[in-house]
């Protein structure tokens, strides 16, 4: 019972093509199902009214605002730290003990489950720093969560900047700070933006970490100290407690559309980056 190498090649090729096809079919099955069920639910009222009757009627405007604010806090906090870390790793030091420790920390952070981030955010931001269930607590928790993503993508972007840029800048008498801000950063900014956009995507999609830190209030937030309920949380609560399938589908469809746009933008940035010859 020995299979000839030709037959083996044919079987393997079929299986490999089939697996790729399977992945695409699954993706389409999920996206199309949610969109077909959910897009008809999205209307002007749905986007602009606040939820009424626990979310059974009305819209999801407060959740949309809450999601935007939580994400904004996360990105505003995480970006300077992430990009700064990437600059330190690439420009300020040689590979050694310090870089190894920093890389190990970032890698470990990226493996921590989001529910553990939620536990941490709850005990540290909500309880210990007494920020309560709030947009700020949720945003800070997400900032910690997306930090490794931003570090990694920024570092890759900075590494692709040709070394000549730095040499020219130094030869003109530029200091390290001038070289970084005027020569390296402008050429790496597109790649850094990709990291930030991917971070935004993770914030929008996250549920476990925000449910324990941002609360689940349905009213319109007044400030970043107000509790809120992000769209992903709202969808989860609607679906799990069976409050309203229609509103759940609508929220999920809106989430999918936002995630899709975020991914398309990130990809366009990457492609233009590649096309520019970096």
């Amino acid at each position: 019972m020995k299979i000839s190498s030709r037959t083996a090649q044919r079987i393997a090729k079929t299986l490999i093509w089939a697996s790729a096809l399977f992945v695409i079919v699954i993706l389409l099955a999920i996206i199309i199902f949610i969109l077909i069920k959910g897009v008809p639910e999205i209307s002007w009222q749905f986007l602009t009214e606040i939820p009424r009757n626990m979310g059974r009627s009305g819209g999801i405007s407060s959740s949309i605002v809450g999601t935007l604010l939580v994400t904004a806090v996360a990105v505003i906090i995480a970006t300077p730290f992430g990009v700064g870390t990437a600059f330190y790793l690439t420009e300020y030091t040689r590979e050694g003990k310090v870089t190894r420790i920093i890389r190990f920390s970032a890698e470990s952070l990226s493996g921590i489950p989001s529910i553990v981030y939620g536990l941490f955010g709850f005990i540290f931001f909500v309880m210990y720093l007494k920020l309560g269930w709030s947009i700020l607590s949720g945003g800070l928790t997400l900032a910690v969560m997306i930090l490794p993503t931003i570090i990694r993508t920024s570092e890759e972007a900075i590494r692709t900047v040709s070394y000549q840029y730095r040499e020219v800048s130094f030869s003109l008498g530029g200091t390290k700070w001038q070289t970084i801000t005027r020569a390296v950063f402008p050429s790496a900014v597109r790649g850094i933006a990709v990291g930030v956009i991917l971070g935004i995507g993770r914030c929008v999609a996250e549920t476990a970490a925000v449910i324990l830190t941002a609360g689940s209030a349905l009213r319109m937030p007044e400030s970043i100290f107000s509790p809120t309920r992000t769209m992903a949380e709202h969808f989860y609560i609607l679906a799990r407690e069976g409050i309203s399938m229609e509103k759940a589908y609508g929220t999920a469809a809106l989430l999918i559309i936002i995630i899709f746009i975020i991914n398309v933008v990130a990809n366009m940035l990457i492609n233009r980056y590649v096309a520019k010859g970096h």
Partner: protein
């Protein structure tokens, strides 16, 4: 003055760069501070190997959850890993440029879909399918494994693909020159050469599966008992925290943090292992 300024900016960047380390330390310290007392009170052995979880009566044994996490994750690996490896081979070796430019962003999108959406989809399709065709309540280890298998695909595919693509060209050329078929080349030259990257990919995928919460909550049934078959419901470490954290207080809340410690330790070991495997090559 100039030199001073340079020094200052260097120090500032170092401080910023230590942020990752600092938050990692903060996370570990705070979760341990909150969780260790209850482990000490119950006893490490009784906590980890205790079979009864009944917070109302002070029984905190998480073995059923550990068992649940391990079985659901193993199931996900059994179902997901072969598909993911095949798909990474497809992208690295078979796909024409046009196709890989469609498949690659599609896989990124798969990674970006909120986990609650996966759970919801599983609840509406996978759970009824299992109930109707295989029996049982449908909410089951099998349903959880199927959903997690899909969710870990992007992680494994992208890392495995990178390690296949980073192999030197002459490996493949040498193999073809010896008259090997494409599959023989992949099986006996490329896969063994990319082994460390692929193993790391699988470990990171497993780490992702064991840490997933929201999708699993919706399809697993969440019963605290050792399941008798893959068609029985189960509860994982993550879902235990996700379900009960909303209303827990006192010892009960501490026990959920202690569940978090166990989860954190498992994931850290997996991560360190993945990093070790990648570095060794």
């Amino acid at each position: 003055m100039k030199i001073n300024k340079e020094k200052i900016s260097g120090t500032i960047f170092l401080l910023i760069a230590l942020s990752a380390l600092s938050v990692l330390a903060l996370i570990t310290v705070f979760i341990f501070i909150k969780g260790v007392p209850i482990i000490a009170k119950v006893g490490f052995f009784d906590f980890v190997f205790g079979m009864v979880w009944d917070p109302g009566n002070g029984a905190f044994g998480i073995f059923p959850m550990i068992f649940g996490s391990v079985t659901v994750t193993l199931g996900a690996a059994v179902l997901g890993v072969p598909i993911a490896i095949c798909c990474s081979i497809f992208l690295a070796e078979f796909a024409p440029a046009v196709l890989s430019n469609i498949v690659r962003p599609a896989i990124q999108l798969l990674a970006a879909i909120p986990s609650v959406v996966y759970g919801f989809w599983g609840l509406l399709f996978v759970v009824p399918a299992i109930r109707n065709h295989l029996g049982g309540p449908g909410l089951s280890i099998l349903a959880g494994s199927i959903i997690l298998a899909i969710m870990i695909l992007p992680t494994i595919i992208s890392i495995a693909e990178v390690s296949l693509l980073s192999l030197p060209r002459h490996y493949k050329e040498g193999a073809y020159a010896l008259g090997l078929t494409q599959w023989q080349t992949i099986r006996s030259v490329l896969l063994p050469a990319a082994k460390s990257g692929i193993v790391a990919a699988i470990i990171l995928g497993i780490g992702r599966a064991i840490g997933e919460t929201m999708a699993v909550i919706m399809v697993l049934g969440n019963a605290v008992a050792i399941p008798q078959s893959i068609l029985d419901p189960a509860r994982t470490l993550t879902t235990n925290i996700g379900i009960e954290m909303g209303y827990a207080s006192g010892d009960h809340q501490q026990a959920l943090f202690a569940t978090g410690i166990v989860l954190l330790v498992i994931v850290m070991i997996l991560n360190a292992f993945a990093q070790y495997v990648t570095r060794r090559k």
